[in-house]
């Protein structure tokens, strides 16, 4: 069966360090992978999208990589700040499908 796993339920990191979150998938041929941020009591907010044929995407302090051989995406936040504390969700979409399938999320806490 198809599975998406975000390896850590929770990740604590010191302010100023780089946070790295992992998203792995099995039995899935995704076309696009997306990352969302969710704050407590709020809906998810879109951050970045990376296509199957792209290796890396950047946006300000965020970087996403996509390795279709390893079936893995890494999400990096450089120079992390306490305001980056949130739950981060990865989501996969197959070409031709309207549907996104979400991972369970990783709760990131950036400690001052």
């Amino acid at each position: 069966s198809q599975k998406i796993e975000q390896n850590s339920e929770a990740l604590n990191i010191q302010e100023g360090k780089t946070a790295t979150l992992t998203c792995n998938y099995t039995n899935y041929s995704p076309a696009y992978l997306q990352w969302y941020r969710q704050d407590p009591g709020r809906g998810p907010v879109f951050l970045l999208l990376i296509r199957e044929n792209e290796k890396e995407k950047r946006k300000e302090r965020l970087k996403v990589t996509f390795d279709t051989t390893l079936k893995q995406s890494l999400f990096h936040i450089t120079a992390s700040q306490p305001a980056d504390s949130a739950t981060y969700l990865c989501a996969l979409r197959r070409a031709g499908s309207y549907q996104l399938t979400f991972g369970k999320g990783t709760k990131l806490s950036v400690i001052p």
Partner: protein
């Protein structure tokens, strides 16, 4: 929240009663989605719509129905609520099914079925 509202924001109801949740958008986006979010499960798709009167089932559609009679409104109905439907429900919209179909989420509805 990208011009998306959900109503009600909180609801407590009893087992066996019908419940309707409303999602309203002002963005004129074609695609609308209903998700539920539960601890240990993450976000799961219930139903989605790809146009007025065009809907389809998602991963966890049993016990739910939807309707979309106009572009801006997408209704989720629990015909006879059960305790297993206690959850936080999110509506999302998307302008396209194409390459950049990022989804914009509403603020959520917290539903408790006693």
């Amino acid at each position: 929240d990208a011009g998306i509202t959900q109503s009600p924001r909180h609801k407590v109801t009893e087992t066996g009663t019908p419940v309707t949740l409303r999602c309203h958008q002002t963005e004129n986006h074609r695609y609308m989605y209903w998700y539920r979010q539960d601890p240990g499960h993450g976000l799961r798709l219930i139903h989605y719509s790809y146009g007025v009167k065009d809907t389809d089932k998602g991963e966890v559609s049993d016990g739910y129905s939807v309707s979309r009679s106009k572009t801006e409104d997408f209704l989720l109905t629990l015909e006879s609520a059960t305790s297993s439907q206690t959850s936080v429900y999110f509506c999302a919209i998307s302008p396209t099914s194409g390459v950049n179909n990022e989804q914009f989420f509403g603020p959520g509805t917290r539903l408790t079925v006693l």
